[in-house]
Symmetry: D2
Subunit: 400 residues, 4 copies
C-alpha cells in the first residue's frame, strides 16, 4: 500500500522496509481500536473548529466504525507494505469515502497520533491492572481470614528465626499490593494527559481545540508543550514499567515463597493438582510451574525497562524513530503483568496449608528472642538477656 509521503515511482528498499515495519505492524494491530478512538475524537474536534463539515464528519465516523467492526472480525489485518496503522486507516477512508479521507490527517502527525494511541492503550491496561490488584488484595484477606491463626516459622537468612503466622505472611502481600497500587495510580495520572494536537512535536498554525479532543478521549488534561509530548516518549513508558516492576516484585516474592514452602522438605502447602504439570520422564512429578513462570516475570519487565530507558537516552529533543522500539516492551509488559496478577490469584485460591507440616516445624529455637524479652520484662538489659539465652542454647546444643 502506498505510503503517505511516497512519490509516484518512489519505492523503499524491500529489506529495509521489512526491517522497519515487521514487528511494528503486529503491535499496531493491538493499537488499532485505540487509534480509531483517537481519530474519532480528532475528527469531531475538526468539525467543531470548522475544518470538517457535518457531512464529512458523519462519513468519517461511519468509516472508522466500519474499520472497528472489520478489526473485531479479524478482517482488517495490517500486512507487509502497509506502513503503519495510521496510513492504512487514512487510505481506507480515502478509497471508500473520497476526499474526506484526505482531511482526517489535518492538524496532526503520525507522531502525536501514535502517542495518543499508546496513551489510550496504557490507560486501559493500567485501569484493568488496578482492578485486578484489588481482587488479589481481597484474595489475601480471605486467605488470612481462613487460615490466619495457623502458626508458621519466620525466616531470616533462610534460617528459622522467629515465630510467625499465616496471617502475618499473607497480609504482608496484601500491604505490598496496596503500596504497588499507589505507585500505579501515580503513573496512571502521569500517563493521563492528551498529546493530540502536538503534531510532529512543534504544534500547528491551525487553531486546534486540544482541550475538546482530550475530553472526548477521557484524558484528565492536555499535555501542553508539543515538544515535551515527544520528549516524554520513553520517559512515561519507563515510569509505567517501573510501577509494574514493583507489582511483579510482590508477585515474585509470593512465588518464591511458594516454590520453597511446597518442597517436600518444607511441606507447608499443597497446591490443587489441576494447577500442576508433570514430567515427560519422571512419572512421579507434580510441578508448580505456574509459580516459576510468574516468578520470572519481574525479570522480563526489568529487561524491557532497560530497553526503553536505554534506547531513549542520549537522543536530542524531538521525535527520533528509535522510539518505535519502545512500543513492544511497553505493550508486552502491560500484558504480562495483567496475566501475572490473574494467575497469582488462581494460584492463591488453590493453595492449602498443610497444618501438620506447619505445626511440626514450630521448633524450640524460634522462641529464643521471645525468651530474652521475658527477661527484659523482668528488668534485665536486653544485651545481657540475649547472652544468657545464647549461652543456654549452646550448652543444650553441646549436650546432643
Amino acid at each position: 500500500m502506498k505510503k503517505l509521503w511516497q512519490k509516484e515511482n518512489g519505492k523503499l528498499n524491500e529489506f529495509i522496509e521489512t526491517f522497519e515495519t515487521k514487528d511494528d505492524l503486529l503491535l499496531d494491530q493491538k493499537l488499532l481500536k485505540y487509534d480509531i478512538q483517537g481519530s474519532i475524537a480528532h475528527a469531531k474536534m475538526l468539525y467543531k473548529i470548522g475544518i470538517l463539515n457535518f457531512d464529512e464528519i458523519k462519513k468519517i465516523e461511519k468509516g472508522l466504525k466500519e474499520i472497528l467492526d472489520l478489526d473485531k472480525k479479524g478482517s482488517f489485518k495490517l500486512k507487509f507494505g502497509d506502513e503503519d496503522v495510521h496510513t492504512k486507516i487514512e487510505n481506507y477512508l480515502t478509497e471508500k469515502y473520497g476526499d474526506v479521507g484526505k482531511k482526517i490527517h489535518t492538524g496532526r502527525s503520525r507522531n502525536d497520533q501514535i502517542l495518543t494511541a499508546i496513551r489510550l492503550f496504557s490507560k486501559d491496561k493500567l485501569s484493568e491492572i488496578q482492578k485486578q490488584i484489588l481482587g488479589l488484595v481481597q484474595g489475601f484477606q480471605l486467605f488470612s481470614k481462613k487460615y490466619g491463626n495457623i502458626e508458621m516459622p519466620g525466616y531470616t537468612h533462610m534460617q528459622k528465626a522467629m515465630p510467625s503466622s499465616l496471617k502475618l505472611w499473607s497480609e504482608s502481600f496484601k500491604d505490598s499490593l496496596l503500596d504497588d497500587l499507589d505507585l500505579i495510580k501515580a503513573v496512571y495520572k502521569l500517563n493521563n494527559q492528551s498529546p493530540l494536537g502536538s503534531a510532529a512535536g512543534y504544534g500547528t498554525t491551525l487553531n486546534l481545540d486540544k482541550e475538546y479532543s482530550a475530553k472526548l478521549m477521557g484524558f484528565a488534561k492536555v499535555q501542553n508543550n508539543p515538544l515535551y509530548c515527544q520528549n516524554s516518549r520513553g520517559k512515561i513508558e519507563g515510569a509505567i514499567l517501573a510501577s509494574l516492576i514493583s507489582l511483579l516484585q510482590t508477585i515474585n516474592k509470593f512465588a518464591s515463597d511458594i516454590m520453597l514452602f511446597t518442597t517436600s522438605e518444607f511441606d507447608f502447602f499443597k497446591v490443587e493438582e489441576n494447577l500442576t504439570t508433570g514430567s515427560s520422564i519422571m512419572p512421579q512429578k507434580k510441578n508448580i510451574d505456574v509459580a516459576e513462570l510468574s516468578r520470572s516475570k519481574v525479570h522480563l519487565v526489568l529487561g524491557n525497562y532497560v530497553q526503553i530507558a536505554s534506547l531513549s537516552s542520549n537522543l536530542i529533543s524531538g521525535y527520533n524513530r528509535d522510539l518505535q522500539d519502545s512500543k513492544k516492551p511497553l505493550i508486552e509488559s502491560l500484558e504480562i503483568t495483567l496475566d501475572s496478577i490473574k494467575v497469582t490469584r488462581i494460584l492463591l485460591e488453590n493453595l492449602f496449608p498443610n497444618e501438620d507440616g506447619l505445626k511440626s516445624s514450630m521448633t524450640e529455637e524460634l522462641y529464643a528472642a521471645d525468651q530474652a524479652y521475658e527477661l527484659v520484662k523482668k528488668g534485665m538489659s536486653f544485651r545481657d538477656a540475649y547472652k544468657q539465652i545464647k549461652e543456654g542454647g549452646e550448652k543444650d546444643e553441646n549436650k546432643h
Copy 2:
C-alpha cells in the same frame, strides 16, 4: 570491636569479614546521623513505655549526641572490625555509660534499625531533590522569559522539521521537570513510612509504641506488617531509583541538546568559558564536559536500578543479607542525582543563545508544513495540499 552476637572466643574469618563489611562501613558512615536520629526516637519510645527510666534516657540521649558531634568532626570513623554502625554505637554507649547501652537495642533488630536509617536518609535527599527541581524549573522559566521569542529550528529524526523557538524548547524541560516532581512526590510518600519496631521482620512480644517513634522521626505513618517491612527492601529503593531515572532522563535530554547545539556546525549556543575544560594535546579545545558527565548519569542510575531489582528478586520472604548490597546503589544514586540537578542549573545559567547562528538556521524548508496548512485554510484537503507543496519543493531541488 566485638560483634553483638560474638562468643568470647569466636572469631570470624578475616577475609570473609572484609568481604562482608568493607564497602558497607563507608556507607554506614553516611547513615550515621540518621541512625542516631532513629536511636533517639527509639529510646524515647522505650522511656514512654517504661523500659527505660528517666536517668537512662538522659544518658542515652547524651551519648548519642556526643557521637553526632564526634561524627561531625570526623572522629567517629567506622573501621575494619566494626561490624556495622549499629554495633559501634551500642558499644560506645555501653563503654561510656554502662548497662544502659545494653538496653538501647531492646525491641529492635539491626534489620529494622538499618531500614529506618535508610528511609530517613532517602527522605532527606528526596526533599532536597524536590527543592532543587523547583529551582531548576525557575531557571528554565527565566531562560524562556529572557530568550523565549528567539526562533530556532525544530528537529525530527535529527533533521530540520518545523519552526520552533527557545520558548518552546526551554519550556519543554520545565514541563518535564514538573512531571518528574510528581513521580518523586509519589515515591517520597511510599518511603515515608516507619519500619521501626518491626524488629527482625516478625515484630516483638514487647508492647512497643510504633506510632510514637514514627511521629518523633517525622514519618507520615507506621508500616504495620513487620514482614512487609523487610519484603519492601529492594522494592521501595527500586521505586526511588526509577523516579530518579525519570528526572535524569530530562537532564539527559537537555545535555544531549546542548552537546549538539554547541558544535561549531550548529552553533546555536555558547557556554561561559569557566564551565569548559581544555585538552592536554589540542590547544584550541573548549569542551563542555559538564554536559557529557550529566548526560551519562541516567545510565549509572539505570544500572544501579538493575542491581537493586535483580538482587532482591527470587528471594524468599524475610531478611536476606543480599539486601545489604542495595545500600550502595541507593545512596550513590540519590547523591548523583542531587549533584546532577545542581550542575544542570549552573550550566543553564551560563548558557547564551547565539542569535545570529539561530537566525541563519531558519531556512525555508522548515515552513513547508505551514504552507500546506495555508492551503488547508483555503479549503484544500490536507493530503492534496501536502502533495502540492512536496512536488513544488522537489522541482525547486531539481533546479539546483
Copy 3:
C-alpha cells in the same frame, strides 16, 4: 492435545495453561526443524545401542521428515493445547506409526531435548552472523578504498579536534567488527557442546552413546556433566547475547555517526533516496529511519540480556521452569542482530560522501596540535609548544 504426563481425566486449568504456553508455542515453531534434527540424531543413537530396531528407526526417520515437510508448508502449526514441540512430535509419531512413537523419548527428557534444539538454533544463527560480519567488513574495506583519501574532521567531545579521513573513519568500523567476530567465535565454541543425553539433568541408567549423537548433529564435543547442562542454561545464552551486544555497539556507533553526519548542518554524507522515508505532515522530509532503527537495536539486546541474566540467578541447581522465559530473548536477539548487520550493509552501500561539505569543514583549528608537533620536531618541549599555539589561537579569537 494430550500432555505426556497427563492422566485420563486430568486437566490443567485453562488460563494457567495459556499463561504457561502462549508465547512459547510460537517460539517452539521456530525451533521445530532443530528439534527434528536432534530427534533424528537421538533415534539413530538408540538404534546404534540396540533400543530401536531397523524397522523402528526407519519409521521414525520417515515420520520426522514428514513433519519437516509439513512444517515447511506451514501445515504443522503448534496451537493452544499442544504442550510443546516435543510433545506434538511424539504424539504425531505415535498416532501415525504406533508404538514406535512411544520409544523416541527413551533416555531423554524434554529438558535436554529443548536445550539441544536451542543450541542447534544458536549454532546456525551464529554461523550466519559470522558470514554476514565478514561481508560487512568487506563493505567497509571497499568504502575505504573508494573514498579513503577524502579528509574529514575528527571529533572529541563532539567538537572538531584533529584532521581525520574517511579511511581512518571507515576502517575503525572494520577493526571493530573483526574484534566482534573474535568474541562471537568464542561464544560459538562455548555453545558448541551437545547436552543430549543429560536427560532431566541427572543422566539415565541407560547406556547412551552421547559422543555419537553429538557427532551426528555436528557438535564439537559432549557437555559431560548432566547437571551442568541444565545449570549452563541462562549462562550460555547470556554469553551469546553479550557477544551480540558488542557487535551491535559497533553498528550503533556507525548509525550514530550517520545520523549526525547527514544533518544539513554537518552535511558530510548523502544516502540513496530509496532508503529514506518521508513524513505524513512535513512534505520536505527525507529521513534515514534505518539508521535510527539500527541504532536502537543494541538497547533491545541489552534489555534481553538483563532478562536472561536476572531470571536465571538466585535459582538452585537443576532445571527450573523460569528458564523457559530465556528462549524468547535469545531467539529474538539472534534474529535482530542478523537483520541489523544486513541493513547496515545496505546502508553503507548507499552512502555517498559529500566532498564539498567535507572539504569546507576542514577548518584551521583542526591543525593546532599538528602545529605544536612541528615545534616539538624543532626541539621545543611539548607543553611549551602547546602553550605557544594555544595563546596564539586565543589572540586570533580576540581579534574577531
Copy 4:
C-alpha cells in the same frame, strides 16, 4: 593544581570541578601504578625515536619510580584540584626535573594514556582471576574426591526428581568454571592490545614506534586504528564485565544451593562456625552471610554492565567524556569478582556434608524414572513404562 590546558587566570567553576572529578580521583589512585608503567614505556619509546635524550629518559624514569614509591607509602594522594592522575604526574616531573616533565606528554593524549592504564589494570586483574579460577576448580575436584560417592537427591522445579551425588553436584561447578575460564581468556585477548600512540583518537604526525611501547608493556599487539581505540571504550569494558557475569553466575548457583541445602529443613551441609555470623536479636542464629553476599554479586556486575553498555551507546565516534563514567563499574567489577572467587573457595573448604541428612533424603520417588528404564530394558516402550510406573505411584499415594 594547575590543569594542563589552563590559562593563567582561567578557573573552572568549583562545583562543576567537584562534579567532574570527585569519584574519578579515587579511581585514578588505583590506576596510578599502571599509568606509571605506561609512562615509562612511552618515555623509553620517545628516547628510542630520538625525542628524548639519554639524560632526559633517566630523569623521567627516576621521577616516575619516585612517584611509585610515594604511592606505595600512601604519600602521592590525588586530591581535589588535581585534574587527573596524568596531570598530577606531569606536574610532579616538571616541578622536580624541569623541562623534561613537559616532554613526557609528547605524542600522546590523556585519551590514549588513560586507556592504556585501564587496559593494563584489566590485564592484571584478569590474570589474577584466571589463577583464582584454577584454584577453585581444584577445590571442587578435591571436594568431589573426598565426598563424591555420597548420594544426594537431584532437583527439578525445586522438587525431588532423580538420584544424584555429591560428585555430580560438585563437578557441575568445576565444569562451569572451566567454561567461564575460556570466556575470560577470550576477553583477555581482546583487552590485550595496546592503544598507546593513538593520542586523542586521530594519531599524531610524529613517527611513534607503537610496536615498541606495546612490547615493553607486555601487550600482544598494537590496536592500530586510533579512532577504533577510542571507539572500543565501553565495548571492551563491556565484554570484560560480561565474562565476569558468567563466572559470577556460577558462584551464584553454588551460593544459592548452599543457602537452600543448609536450611534446617534440608540439612545437607554444615558450614564451619567461624564463617557464620549471628543476630543482634535472636541468640540462636548462625547465618551463612558469606553465601548471601557472594550470591548477590552477579547482580552488581550486571548493573555495572548495563551502565557501561548504556552510557557508551548513541554517542558518535571519538572520545566523549561520558566514557569516564565507565571506569568505576569496570574497576569495581574486577575487584568484586576477584574477592568473590576467593570467598567461594574459603566457603567450599569449610563445607561439610551431613551424611545422615543426605541419606535420609534419598526417598523412593527419586527412583521412578529408573524403574521405568528397567521396564524399557525388558522391551517395553518408554511411554508405556512411564505410564505403568506413574499409575502405580498414584495408587500407592491414594492408599495413604
